[in-house]
């Protein structure tokens, strides 16, 4: 009796595993899901927009995956040409990028923060952050994590529209030791 039970059990588990593998393979390994416009808790279901507007999943599933936020790696999406967003509306508007990393060392026991200007200026204009949110002079802005968590400094975007503040290691990415070894 027991043997039959065990055999049945193994069979079921195997069947379940195989069906899950098939499902995963069918989705190209992409298990991301987005709420539709109609069920996002914001749109009025009776409004024509609920069916007329593009659903997040329809657009975002085409873009390189990420584990947080919109589940899209936006920097990669831009660099690898998945998205080609306009840079200016007005042809005469100057466009500038800056390739300079800033190492922020006042992080107590957390790894230092490496701020990549390039990834930011590919999307943003210098004046979006300077001088209102950050002083141009490195170290002149009293950035701290409490303020960031309340939506100041980096928290203006991170935690709202850019990857969230739960992704500690993406910013706190430079071990103190590694920074010392570099000249």
């Amino acid at each position: 009796m027991n043997t039959t039970g065990w055999a049945g059990r193994i069979w079921r588990v195997a069947l379940f595993t195989v069906s899950m593998l098939v499902l995963t393979a069918a989705s190209g390994g992409d298990t991301r899901k987005w709420k539709s416009i109609a069920e996002d808790g914001l749109h009025d279901g009776d409004n024509p927009a609920a069916t007329a507007l593009q659903s997040p999943g329809e657009a975002l599933k085409m873009l390189p995956p990420d584990g947080a936020g919109n589940q899209v790696n936006w920097v990669k999406a831009l660099r690898d040409g998945y998205v080609k967003p306009r840079t200016t509306l007005n042809e005469t508007t100057p466009v500038q990028t800056l390739d300079a990393d800033i190492l922020m060392k006042r992080t107590v026991e957390m790894p230092y923060v490496r701020f990549p200007h390039l990834a930011h200026t590919e999307w943003l204009e210098c004046s979006n952050c300077h001088e209102k949110i950050f002083k141009s002079k490195a170290g002149a802005t009293p950035v701290n994590m409490f303020q960031i968590l309340q939506g100041e400094y980096c928290g203006r975007c991170h935690g709202a529209v850019a990857f969230p503040l739960t992704e500690c290691n993406r910013c706190h990415s430079v071990p103190h030791k590694a920074a010392k070894e570099k000249p």
Binding site: G41, Q71, L89, N128
Partner: protein, 137 residues
Amino acid sequence: MNTGFRFRRDAGMRARAIALMIMGLGMLLSGNGVAEYGDVVLNKRAEREGMAPVVFPHWFHRIRFRCKVCHSELAFEMRAGANQVTMAEIVQGKFCGACHNGTIAWSTENCKLCHSGAPNLPSRIHGSHETLGPGRW
């Protein structure tokens, strides 16, 4: 007989439990916020003036425009709610109206495509992580 039956049933239940756990995990990974990450509701004036709140899908716009277009050329501040946006200005080509003019994007005659929010929505960024964050006005 009874033992065998119970065994099979346990296996089935376990499979269902595993399936539920995987679904739960999937739901967690898809974010616990209901709205899409970065959706902005504008309702400072809308409902007071008899229109549904505006839902602005930030993700949709950043696929088509870099941040700098709206936050520099169109003078949208880097904080939701910091601008005083009126319909009169939009119709005159300011803010949303720089594109929503029938040329780059649909014109302002399509009221309900933007004024599409459910009643009584608070003005802020929705769908984001639960920090005190930029949602505050």
